[in-house]
């Protein structure tokens, strides 16, 4: 039950993009079409879960016993960079098309604040190992869901005759704002 609450909380109530405003860069950057957004979601899910997991391990097996908590951010970034690099290698091997369409945004997952943010949050919330795993997973699902929804909306907007002044990123930002407003409706759901 607790896990379900964590999932609902991370997906809807504290959605990493629309409520915590983390990871907006890929959210705006690779949401041009649904398949790319799904790919980005999947890649980010992979990185998020893996980094939340290894962050917990590093924190509890290495940093805390040695009293090196001040190295937390530094070492997490190191881990995340490695995981992203690994993902990139893997994608390049398995799915050229996705690799190409994600382009620069794939290595940029490294600097995706959602990833570091989630890793740091799991430590701050003092989650257990399995809880932080679920938390990372929930955040990733929330991220992917919003990415796909937003990509759907943007695909539709591409066909709309948006006034030139607002077409492209501006209308995207307005839409993201409305989406964020909608997610306020889920406040205190859990």
């Amino acid at each position: 039950m607790e896990y379900i609450i964590i999932i609902i909380s991370t997906v809807l109530v504290n959605n990493v993009v629309l409520v915590q405003f983390l990871g907006l860069c890929p959210f705006m950057g690779v949401s041009n079409n649904i398949s790319t957004a799904t790919g980005m979601g999947a890649a980010t899910t992979f990185v998020l879960v893996l980094s939340a997991l290894s962050a917990w391990l590093i924190e509890h097996l290495l940093l805390k016993p040695l009293g090196l908590e001040f190295l937390r951010t530094l070492s997490f970034i190191l881990i995340i960079a490695a995981v992203v690099q690994f993902t990139e290698l893997y994608l390049q091997k398995t799915s050229q098309a996705l690799y190409k369409s994600l382009g620069i945004f794939l290595p940029l997952i490294t600097t995706n604040c959602a990833v570091l943010g989630v890793a740091l949050l799991t430590i701050r919330e003092e989650f257990t190992f399995s809880e932080s795993l679920i938390y990372g997973f929930g955040a990733a699902i929330g991220f992917s869901m919003v990415m796909v929804i937003f990509a759907g909306l943007r695909q539709r907007l591409e066909l709309a005759e948006v006034p030139e002044l607002f077409s492209g990123v501006p209308i995207g930002l307005i839409t993201a704002g409305v989406l964020s407003m909608i997610f306020m409706g889920f406040t205190s759901l859990v």
Binding site: I58, L62, L63, L66, L68, L71, L74, S75, L78, I79, A82, Q85, F86, L89, Y90, Q92, K93, Q96, K100, S101, G103
Partner: protein
């Protein structure tokens, strides 16, 4: 302090080693995109793009040295396909919509055979001292014959619209 340096160095080394292994394991052979692109090219090696042949052009396109719109025989359609393949956006308005094909003005043709010698697709027929003609279906519109013609009697014209080739225009904006 020493522990911190040690720990970070160790982490870096371990991760680096793992990544090195992964890189070896997931190694990808040369970029396959060049081959895919040269498959798409017209393959007539007409040279209008400024490269010696379609293969070289494909390499240049893949590496981004030249635009996907560089190929007149391929026209709008090729540019679109290539842009899709490379995941880039192009401005299609820059390309002439209608491809142009060679037409020999028979009153000025002297039958010098120069044009049909340069035609990459053998689209020009005729014999010495006889008026040449273009087989429209085989012409790529590369314009090599126009350059070669000493009488300047080859014009590049759009295909005339007849009932068979007519198709519906776009509805007036709604």
């Amino acid at each position: 302090m020493i522990t911190a340096i040690f720990v970070l160095t160790l982490m870096g080394l371990i991760l680096g080693y793992l990544l090195g292994l992964a890189a070896k394991y997931f190694h990808v052979e040369a970029d396959p995109i060049i081959e895919e692109i040269s498959e798409l090219m017209p393959g007539t090696h007409c040279g209008q793009c400024g490269f010696a042949g379609c293969g070289q052009a494909a390499e240049a396109i893949a590496s981004g040295e030249t635009e996907v719109t560089c190929c007149p025989p391929g026209g709008k359609q090729l540019a679109e396909t290539l842009a899709d393949k490379l995941g880039i956006t192009i401005n299609l308005d820059d390309i002439a919509n209608e491809p142009l094909y060679a037409n020999i003005n028979s009153s000025e043709c002297t039958g010098c055979t120069r044009c049909y010698k340069v035609c990459p697709t053998d689209a020009i027929v005729g014999a010495n001292k006889q008026i040449h003609a273009v087989i429209n279906a085989a012409c790529t519109g590369c314009g090599a014959c126009k350059t070669a013609c000493p009488e300047n009697c080859i014009d590049m014209l759009p295909e005339p619209i007849v009932l068979e080739t007519w198709h519906w225009p776009k509805p007036i904006a709604a």
